[in-house]
Amino acid sequence: MTADRPLPDRDATVDAQFWAAASEGRLLVQECPDCENRQFFPREWCHFCGSEAVEWVESEGSGHVHTYTVIRRATELPAFAEDVPYVVAYVELDEGVRVCSNVVGCAPAAVEIGLPVEVAFDRVTEDLALPKFRPSEEE
């Protein structure tokens, strides 16, 4: 069912660490000890100050919807056609970074900007889970 969908290529070192953690149910973001900024997507360096000393921080997994769209037609990635309508969102984590993901566990019409959400890992293969988000149970 997910065979022809794009999946992360976990060969690259920094991405391998992110996806290994996600597959264990942990959502990671990066923090720079030198300038104290956090960043997403992961890289080997700090994109604010250029430091090589970036560290992983485990996210609490809670945040809110910064913006979203309800996909009605799979124009570019046809493998997702069976899922429509589905929600693609950028979630602003409480740690201060924005993560591209899906909002699941509710009707698309229930999603709005500002909706509190929490991470819900979706196991797509034996060794890979995607961090998705569902409406928070506590607000």
Binding site: F48, L77, S101
Partner: protein, 402 residues
């Protein structure tokens, strides 16, 4: 005046087709569109293939092989070129290609450069011959595509959604933009769409990615375009109606230090550079040819180019007649939304070629009365958590450089 030795001496544009839908339309290869565009552009300037000493190529798609410009030069039949350049700025690369080429002429390296853009996103059997040029090894593959992001349609839906959350509804005003451009397209024999639509038809078109609907999306077509730049010395020997470049500006990757907004574009910085070079401001333009992959992108640009404060673009559209004969003519040939978008290679050429036609008084039934000066833009390259990140502005003027 910075570009004092360079003019645009010719333009060319092929017919548009989507052969999978209209089977009477022929399918040409990408190279054939380049050739047709080259032939028309050179004929427009009155130059032979053998008289050209520079070639600029807008990268057609992500599948384009490296060394493509040299392969294309050989395929088209150019020999001993003194300058070959290529741009790789996604859909908005026509303006940067033209301004790069102008620099080569200005510095005396060459006397003429033929800038070409073409694309064949529609194939009669395959349906879609090209894909949106995403980074095959990067953030998109790792952190975007696995969640089913559907290309630019979804990306601009995210931007429009956030913008309307902060500033209010824009649907009626975007309808106005689209309906106006459709009317312009009916006046342009080379536009893909030749029938008008109503605001209701726009607003009720098929939902694609909320709030983006079908008529918000650019129409992919197969086509080729060309712009010929020449030194004033060379152009003076030709029978041409010259157009000069009064100013230009570029801006790449605004808001790189984390995404602040989804709708901030950085064309504001590009415009500041262009206005500064030209010594002109937004009030001095006779028309705008704005990159229009989506109507909302035009609204963002109207704000950043200085026509309306942030959040007030919709009010500006409501108060302004954007038709070819109106207060501030916008995308007078129909724009990419209605002329068609020939992949990322041909995309923004729609804006540049139409601007030149208007300045030469060749707009026919869509001619802007007394057009002396206009502003063109190019925008491309969606990035992680931002909409589009490669921005360019050109200010073009009728006649020889002052």
């Amino acid at each position: 005046m910075v570009l004092e030795d360079t003019v645009i001496a010719g333009v060319g544009e092929t017919a548009k087709s989507r052969p999978s839908e209209r089977n009477d339309q022929p399918y040409h290869t990408l190279e054939e569109y380049f050739w047709r565009a080259a032939r028309e552009t050179l004929a427009d300037a009155g130059l032979a293939f053998t008289e050209i000493d520079g070639l600029g190529v807008a990268r057609p798609s992500v599948e384009t092989p490296y060394r493509y410009p040299m392969m294309l030069a050989e395929t088209l039949g150019f020999e001993d070129l003194a300058w070959v350049t290529v741009t790789d700025h996604c859909g908005g690369q026509a303006v940067p290609l033209v301004t790069q080429a102008a620099q080569a002429i200005e510095s005396g390296v060459v006397d003429s450069i033929l800038c070409l853009g073409a694309g064949t996103p529609k194939h009669p059997e395959k349906g879609s011959g090209e894909v949106f040029p995403r980074d095959p090894r990067g953030f998109d593959r790792e952190y975007v595509a696995p969640f089913g992001m559907q290309g630019a349609n979804a990306l601009l839906a995210l931007a429009q959604q956030r913008y309307t959350h902060e500033y209010g509804p824009v649907r009626d005003q975007l309808a106005e933009v689209y309906v106006t451009q459709r009317d312009h397209a009916t006046r342009n024999p080379l536009a893909y769409f030749d029938e008008p639509v109503t605001a209701e038809e726009y607003k009720n078109s098929e939902p694609i990615a909320d709030p983006i609907r079908l008529f918000d999306c650019v129409v992919p077509v197969n086509a080729g375009f060309g712009v010929l730049l020449a030194s004033t010395d060379l152009a003076g020997e030709l029978d041409v109606d010259p157009v000069s470049i009064r100013g230009f500006g570029h801006s790449y990757n605004p808001e790189v230090a984390q995404q602040r907004t989804f709708y901030g574009m950085g064309i504001e910085a590009a415009a500041e550079r262009a206005y500064g070079m030209a010594g002109l401001g937004p009030g001095e333009m006779d028309f705008l040819q704005l990159y229009d992959d989506y109507p909302i992108v035009e609204l963002f640009q109207l704000e950043e180019l200085g026509y309306a404060a942030r959040g007030e673009g919709a009010d500006f559209v409501a108060e302004t007649d954007l038709s070819y004969a109106g207060d501030l003519p916008l995308n007078t040939g129909g724009g990419q939304l209605c002329v068609g978008q020939a992949g990322v290679g041909g995309a923004a050429f729609v804006q540049v070629v139409e601007a030149v036609r208007q300045l030469r008084g060749e707009g026919g039934r869509r001619q802007v009365p007394g057009a002396e000066r206009g502003l063109v833009t190019g925008v491309g390259a969606g990035q992680y958590g931002k909409n589009l990140t490669a921005h360019s502005v050109g200010i073009l003027e009728r006649g020889w450089p002052a």
